[in-house]
């Protein structure tokens, strides 16, 4: 259910826009989300391959293997989604016009911020894979909850002030907070796993 909390922001923010600036603005924001959503399809597909790899790496090579696998996953997402984010920064407004015939002030910036959010989400996904490998997926709920609280909390101020740029910025803020929380949580889980394995070795005498 943790992912439901995360998607709550994506569900509610277009409605906030609709209430404050009307349904046409919500539609414009929706098309930006849909354009960036294409990248999300790629991220989901790649993660269907990466998550089992992380789980297997932990089972075969322990924590060292898991850390290596998570590092590789991070590199895969940064090298694939990073250039897409830059591409959308440069061509976002033109792509919106070509594909949807949608044009509004600062459209490119909104698309860029949403793709930046997706890049941040991909980092939380990597941390989530680590937690899944450690069989501690419940830790992910803290990341999702803080993502939701930070984005919806900042939405109250930012959307009325900067309209759609503010709306996209709220998701970036949520993304930054989410990444920090899941990374710290995973770090703690990894440290506990090291501690537990050291204890187990001491009990069996192998650590001596």
């Amino acid at each position: 259910m943790a992912r439901t909390l995360g998607i709550a922001s994506h569900t509610l923010i277009p409605w906030f826009i609709a209430v404050q600036f009307g349904k046409i603005a919500a539609g414009q924001f929706g098309t930006c989300l849909a354009l960036v959503g294409l990248t999300m399809m790629f991220m989901t597909g790649v993660n269907n391959f990466l998550q089992p790899q992380s789980v297997r790496a932990y089972q075969v090579d322990g924590l060292t293997g898991l850390k290596k696998s998570l590092g590789q996953s991070t590199a895969v997402f940064l090298t694939s989604l990073g250039p897409v984010t830059i591409l959308l920064f440069v061509l976002g407004d033109r792509l919106l016009d070509w594909i949807y015939k949608i044009d509004f002030p600062h459209a490119g910036l909104v698309v860029f911020l949403l793709s930046l959010n997706l890049l941040l989400v991909s980092m939380t996904v990597v941390a989530g894979n680590g937690m899944a490998a450690l069989k501690r997926s419940t830790g992910f709920i803290w990341g999702e909850a803080t993502y939701c609280i930070a984005s919806l909390g900042s939405a109250i101020v930012l959307i009325s002030k900067w309209r759609m740029i503010g709306a996209a910025l709220t998701l970036v803020i949520g993304g930054v907070v989410g990444v920090l929380v899941v990374t710290v949580t995973l770090w703690r889980f990894l440290a506990e796993s090291v501690h537990n394995s050291t204890d187990a070795l001491s009990l069996t005498g192998e650590g001596l």
Binding site: G27, G30, L38, T138
Partner: protein, 204 residues
Amino acid sequence: MSFTNFITMVLVAHWCTPLELGIYALAWTVVGFLRTAQERTLAAPYMVLAHRRREKGDSLLGSSLVHQALFAVAAGLGLLLLAVSVFAWNPIWDVSAMPTSILALAFAVPMMLLRDHLRAVSCTHFRYHIALVMNTLVGIIQLGGLLFAAAAGWLSIPLLYVWIGVAHLLPCAIWILLRPQPFRVIPSELGTDWRESGLIHVGW
């Protein structure tokens, strides 16, 4: 499947008014939320339990389908209530108005959720070709109907959502008739299987 939805939104942006696009996008956020909620609540635990509890056989799928039906009905009723609430906010009863679109969504969403679940079930049992056939059928019917409605000048967001529901209904009906994955509903198991699915969420 996401490709069909992407193309649908592109066509809506080209052929409908900006206001209709806004209504479509807003309604779609609700669809996205409900699909994710169902995927996490029902499909993901089924994916784990189907392999972990092989001895339960067909009854686990029977229970999962009953749980899904209850979820879909609750989602449909929730949307019906939302349509009534939004009617108070936007009291214009015409085909481009928000309440009519959400009302149409209340019809379509249970079908979309059922198709999603049947696809997840097919993938769980490594029957990807069934998921692919279902996706293709939905795509052809959905986009074909959309093109026809646009050509005939009938295209509106409520009609589009009703049509999306119909496009999802047909492959689901075929799946239920052919039963490519056998299932059996055992009423006494429904509660036990629900609790066991819940335990998956807490990392059991």
